[in-house]
Structure formats: structure tokens, C-alpha cells
Symmetry: C2
Subunit: 493 residues, 2 copies
Amino acid sequence: MADSEPLPSLDGDPKAAEAWLRDVFEIIMDEAIHKGTRTSEKVCEWKEPEELKQLLSLELQTHGEAQKQILEHCRAVIHYSVKTGHPRFFNQLFSGLDPHALAGRIITESLNTSQYTYEIAPVFVLMEEEVLKKLRALVGWSSGDGVFCPGGSISNMYAMNLARYQRYPDCKQKGLRALPPLAIFASKECHYSVNKGAAFLGFGTDSVRVVESDERGKMIPGDLERQIKLAEAEGAVPFLVSATSGTTVLGAFDPLNIIADVCQRHGLWLHVDAAWGGSVLLSQTHRHLLDGIQRANSVAWNPHKLLGAGLQCSVLLLQDTSNLLKRCHGSQASYLFQQDKFYDVALDTGDKVVQCGRHVDCLKLWLLWKAQGGQGLERRIDRAFALAQYLVEEIKKRKGFELVIEPEFVNVCFWFVPPSLRGKQESPDYSQRLSQVAPVLKERMVKKGSMMIGYQPHGTRGNFFRMIVANPMLTRADIDFLLDELERLGQDL
Amino acid sequence: MADSEPLPSLDGDPKAAEAWLRDVFEIIMDEAIHKGTRTSEKVCEWKEPEELKQLLSLELQTHGEAQKQILEHCRAVIHYSVKTGHPRFFNQLFSGLDPHALAGRIITESLNTSQYTYEIAPVFVLMEEEVLKKLRALVGWSSGDGVFCPGGSISNMYAMNLARYQRYPDCKQKGLRALPPLAIFASKECHYSVNKGAAFLGFGTDSVRVVESDERGKMIPGDLERQIKLAEAEGAVPFLVSATSGTTVLGAFDPLNIIADVCQRHGLWLHVDAAWGGSVLLSQTHRHLLDGIQRANSVAWNPHKLLGAGLQCSVLLLQDTSNLLKRCHGSQASYLFQQDKFYDVALDTGDKVVQCGRHVDCLKLWLLWKAQGGQGLERRIDRAFALAQYLVEEIKKRKGFELVIEPEFVNVCFWFVPPSLRGKQESPDYSQRLSQVAPVLKERMVKKGSMMIGYQPHGTRGNFFRMIVANPMLTRADIDFLLDELERLGQDL
């Protein structure tokens, strides 16, 4: 019978399995951690999709492969992956490879449990609460609630659902058709998850009223006030303002205190999407950018971005102390949240979320914090601000570089103006030609593997580069390299 | 200035960081992998919450701690965590510690990228598609679409949103208020995420019509037909049936072919929640349990459960070839999904989801499959079925054990009847007293650390144990141990 047959692969041979895992770890140390963070190595090894498929032998087959062959697959996967921990990876709102956070991630994967009951995640239930408490304290709350979510978009959706439930508890049972038309307010610079959430949660994207931003990307509170009145005049019920602390492209911080005044006047839930900017709360020098955040009802904050905790580490924090999360999301599944357990079932936090099984996301941040302390993390953030400022100064000094705006955060947006376009600002096709520069340079840098930096159009502006200073290992030399390399790559344009 | 100050901790000392990571890896190998999978070690080390808080030194402080101290934290975190890879962990729908899947998870964490563009996740964009193609083929589809989701609950919600969008594309923009009242159908044995999803997506839980199940937990198609007509008579528009392949407690498989007939007759979207049972598709012997699944519009399947890929590994598969996922969820963020990239932007799959950043969940399954082959995975599943059957036979042989139902899957539900209750079935308080047994035994086994098995009440039945045979390392000796240990723990009751 099947249960007495010999097992294939490493099954049933724990010693061989342990030896094999050691081999894998050596490959990871060499390819991902050592080479993956050295400037002497490439940040990426570009291949066309069809070629890459062949190189990876992607196909899944009936027969298992030899252990040696699997090791080669591991090596290839790492080799052809982008090295996001590399000092020349500037492409996203995350970068760098912190050893303590990584240790937390590897331990999490080795323990492979689900964050829903004290029964099977005792350490992580307590740890999640401790980490959330610390983050709430930075927001300015001595009490409250919160939960780790699979990314900032879902954190933002949680806020929408909680705001809706708080005002209309019936919605959980009766749905949106039992409610008046609702209106959500966010600036045109807000993250696209506000729209995605409005669609997913059944409001529809039309329910999102777009509030004007100023030239720096900050929400204009006067226009918020106007939009609220307009929505009311059209028969909609305003219930939620989603402000942003650290917009995705420009890195702008909405004026939270003035927005909170508006919310207070109209009785609206204030959510702050601080997915990107929340980590600035750790810096005594720069936390003023989020002044007023303590007046929010909810805050989304992704420590996997500026703090480098690793994907994904995203929290939703709440000022609420009425168990709103559990009332809004709970469904008391009797197979998981038995009420006759021998310990305090308030420790079974799984019913706070709309998920069932939930990945453990607190350990990586806890271990990082234990190692760095609040002070070490603050130093990293201050350093990132200082390096961003250094980049701004260098851009101003160099011919062929033009700032999009003076940044207030670590997003530095700028154009590289190639030799053929310099002094041609008055030419009618200048903007259009300038917009074609970034995609060409991007292709060149990726195929060379020298660095990665993002670009995008924005409003009426054509493509420009968005430099993100997030990797704590960055030095002025890396900033200089960025500018030098753009000059090298674009000298013939 | 801040960017020229010395860095704390391991910052700026890559050699020390690498040496420290090696120390962490040794701790993981010893505590989590070696001890964590040995029957000579405890499956859990129970501590009361207050004591555990002290043992873990949870508090986060201003100053960073020494590297040696951080290593001790790593050791303590593992020591006090439940060992879900232990051969005596029967508590959840996942168990075991596969070395190849674990290697995939560790590599994923080391690479720390986001699954949204070919630009920064070239390997994983191609790999996700390959894995999805393989899983779709097992469902019976030669084409289609799909995506990895953060857990089965969210996969189920995706299905609800897609079904809604396909019928009423306007909903994305105009919301549910522009639609007629909608009705969702699921059996009373369905997973609680159907209700959570109905609330979260704005339908309201009232929109879920509960269909009767038979005594084995299978949906009764005749009642489905009745409920559909009833909903229509009440003015609601039926649009979605969520059938279950492998219910959470009893492990029941709904009769998909007959349900598909009903759906076809009424023009309804058929979603199959095969989060638990989907992996049975790999077994030629047992896949008949899911006969008819190829007629579904969507399938949710969690390889982190029976296949042991590791949390989280959950897919939503679609028969659709019209780009429904992207049309339904997309919002074309210009900073991420630039259309003037130098490669085929169809490879940027991130706009298929409601998230933005997305954890890479395909590598662990891919590597596991490469090592085991379809055949090795099939052997594991057949072995689990055979061991479950062995357990059933042993239960029937032993005094004091009573089956709840004859299982068709690897969930074996049974009561342990302690000596004082044997032969007292006719006593008026028998059921109530029997229901108190499982919680007491659970407390005893956890405090002893000898094993973990779940229990729950179910319908009119009082608490019974639900044994899950999922860990591929299990042997008959472990099954015997389970029964012997329950007898030992309950001999005085």
C-alpha cells in the first residue's frame, strides 16, 4: 500500500535534507547576499523573456530532478533576478538588504505558521501587538488597535471598510444597496489603491472625489472643502478622507492638521496613507512633515519601504479602542476561534482580518528594531534625507540635469537633458523629445546592468527620473555614480 | 552632516553581516529544522502569555542591542514557537517542513522583490505563469488566466469580484448601488471567507444564500436549485455559486458536475473553493473527487496546505481568456506600468491584482515540484489518503474512539470517549459531557508538548477532534502515537 512505499527525493532522509539546505544557504550567501550587494557586480542580468525561459528550464515535469540539478536551479534563479539589495538599485520605494530583517524573514519561513491564534503562533501574537504598540506610539497614540496586512493597498482598503462600518454597521449584513451613495475624498496625487479599493469594496470608482493638489503635490484643503460641499449638493454622503504622507512620485506630504480640521468640521473619518512616508515619524528632525497624523482615525504604514524590513511588512494602525476591527471583520468561525479554549481567547487575533491564514510579518521588523534601536533607524532616515539633499545640490551644479521640484522627502525627481536638447527649451517639440530620453536611458542601464532607476510621466510633465534614496548603505559615491552614469549613457543623445 | 557619521550595528560592515547571518543560519538549522522535526523533541513549549512576554524581552527600545544578544532573541523566538513541521503537529490544514519548498522561501526572502513587473521580477513573472499553467492543466484547462493571492480568502473574494464585473462591468465605476440586489450561493459547510468576502465587497452577508448539505457535508444540488428560485422570487439576481472541494472540518467534496449543470441552466458563475482539496487533482487515484471542476469559471487552490509549499501559496485560476483579471482590477498606474518600456508590457502582470506590491509566492512551489516531480507529489497525496484510512481502521478497532463520519479525504473526525463516559450514550448529559473532553485533552497535550490536534463543535455535534494527515513524513507509528497519547491523556476522565 502507498504508505509503505519508499519516498522519493529527500523524503525520509533528514540528514541529507539538512546537508542539502546547507548547500542552498552557501549559494544564497554567495550569489544573493555577497555578490548581490557589491557595486563590482551587476544590479541585473537582462535577458529577453524567451531566452530567460530556456535558461531557467522553467517547465514542471512528472519526474523529480536530482538534488545537484535543483541546486543549479537555485543558482540560476538568483543569478537572473534583479538585486534589490544592490547599492545601485534605485528603482522602487524599497532597496537594500538588512541582515537582521533578513534573519527575521528566514526564521519566519522556517517556522511556517499562521498569524491567527495564540495556539499556533504564541510568539508572533505577542510580538505583533508589541510592534503595533510601538508604531502607534510614534503616531502619537497611547492606545488603539491595528494589524499587519499583505501590503499597503489592502491596508487602505481596510480603512475604507472600517470607516464605512463605523458609520453604517448595517452594511456588513445588508450591503451597500441599503446605504445612501457615499463619497471618498483623496487628492489626485494619492496612490492608485484608493481607486482600486473603491471598486473592490463595491463603492465604485465614481465615489472617489478627486481633490486638487498644489504644484508640490500636496492636497489643497480649500478644494477638499469645496469637493465635500459639491458631493453633498449632489446627494452623496461624505464619509472618508484619504490623505497621503509621502506620495509615490513626488514624495509630497498632505497638510494633515488642516485636513483634520476639515474632517472634524464635517464628521469624516480621516485615513492617512503613510505607506511611504510613515517611517519619517522615527526622525525627530523630519517628523514635522506628518504633523497632525495623531488626529487621524487610521494610518497605513509600510516598514518594508523606507525601513527596509522586507516585503511585505505593512500595518494598518487605528486610534479605535472599541474593537472595531473585530466587529467589522469578524465571523467567529467555530473551528478556529473556539470559545472554550484554556487560554484567553482575546489572544486569537485572526478574526480581526478578512483573511484566514495570515503570513507572519512582524518578526522581520522586530528583529531589525532590536538590532538598530529607534536611534539607529532614525540615523538611517536622517542619512537618507541628507543624501537626497546632496543629490539635489549636485543636480543643480551639473549641466544637463534639471530638477522637477524641490523635494521635501527622499524622492528626487529630475530630467536628464542630453547634449542635443540643451538650450532648446523654446523648441516646440522639446517636451516631447525630452520625454523620450528616460526610456532610452533605462533600456541602456538595464541591459548594461549598471543601475536601475524609475521614470514616469506625471500630469502634464513628460517622462522624468524619480530617484529614491532608501538603501541605508548608500554613500555620496553612489549618488555621484548615478549622475555620472546617466551622463555616460546619454552622451550621444 | 548625517551622511558622514559612522553607522551603527552591522551597517557598512558586510563581512561582519555575512558572518552574523551564518550564525543565525546555524541556529535555524539546529532549533527549527533539526529539533523542530524530531519526535524526540516537543511540538510546542507552552508558556502563559505574561511569562512568554518576559522570556522574549519583547520591548522595542531606543538603543540597539549587541549582535550576540540578537542571536539569543533568534533562538528564543524559535524555541517558544510551535513547530508546525513536527510529525506530531496535526492541528491545521498544513504541516511538515519540505526542504525544497523551504529553500524556495529563503531564496525569495533573500531576493526581496515585488511580483508586479518584468523589470524587477523577470524570473518570477515567467515562473508564476509556468506554475499557473501547470495548475490549470490539472484542473483541465489548456488556456486561461490566474494569479497568486495572499491566501485563499482573498482568492475567493477575487472570484466574487470577477463574477460581479463580468456580469455588470459598470459596477467597477458606478458601484453596487447601480446594480440590482445580487445573490451568492454556498453550502452551510463552506469556508467563512465567503461571508467575509460578501461583507468586504459591499454585497452584505445577507446576499449569501445558505444551501443545505447532506450528512457527509456535501452541498445538496436540489436545495441549490430551490434557493436560486427563492432568491429570484424575492427579487434578487443570482450570479455566483461557490462550491467547495474539501470542506474545512469534514473534508467534503461538493458534487461539482451536478452543481455545474445547475449553474449552466441559470447562467451563473461557478467558483470552486478548492483551497484545501485542490491538491487531490495530482492523484490519479483520488482526483475523481473533483470531477466536474473543469466546468468551473474560477478555482481557488492553496498549495501551502496539502502540498506543503509554505505559507502563503494560494492561487486563483480562471478559465477566462479575455483578460478579465486585468480589466476588472486594473488601473494603469503610470509610474509603474509605463507603456513606453523597451519590453513587452504584457509581462507586467501587477495590474491583475488589487494589491500593488505583491510577495513572490511561486518559487517555493516551483522548486518543490522540480524536486518531487508530479509523481512525487502524487505519491505523497496517495500516502496521506492511505494513512488516513489506516487511522479510520484503528479508530474502529479501539475502544473509546468513535468516528464522526466515514471520511472521503484526509480529515478524520472522531470523538475520544473517556472511560467514565463509555456505555453512557443514553445518558441525557452524555453529549454535553463528551463535548467537554476535547478542550481538556487539548490543554493537556499542549502543556506537555507531545502533540497538537484541533477540535471543534460542528452543527448539532459537540466538540470532536479533527485529525489532518498532511505531513508527508508521517508514518503509521505517528498515527498509533496519536491514539495512544489520547488514551494516556484521557485515562482519568
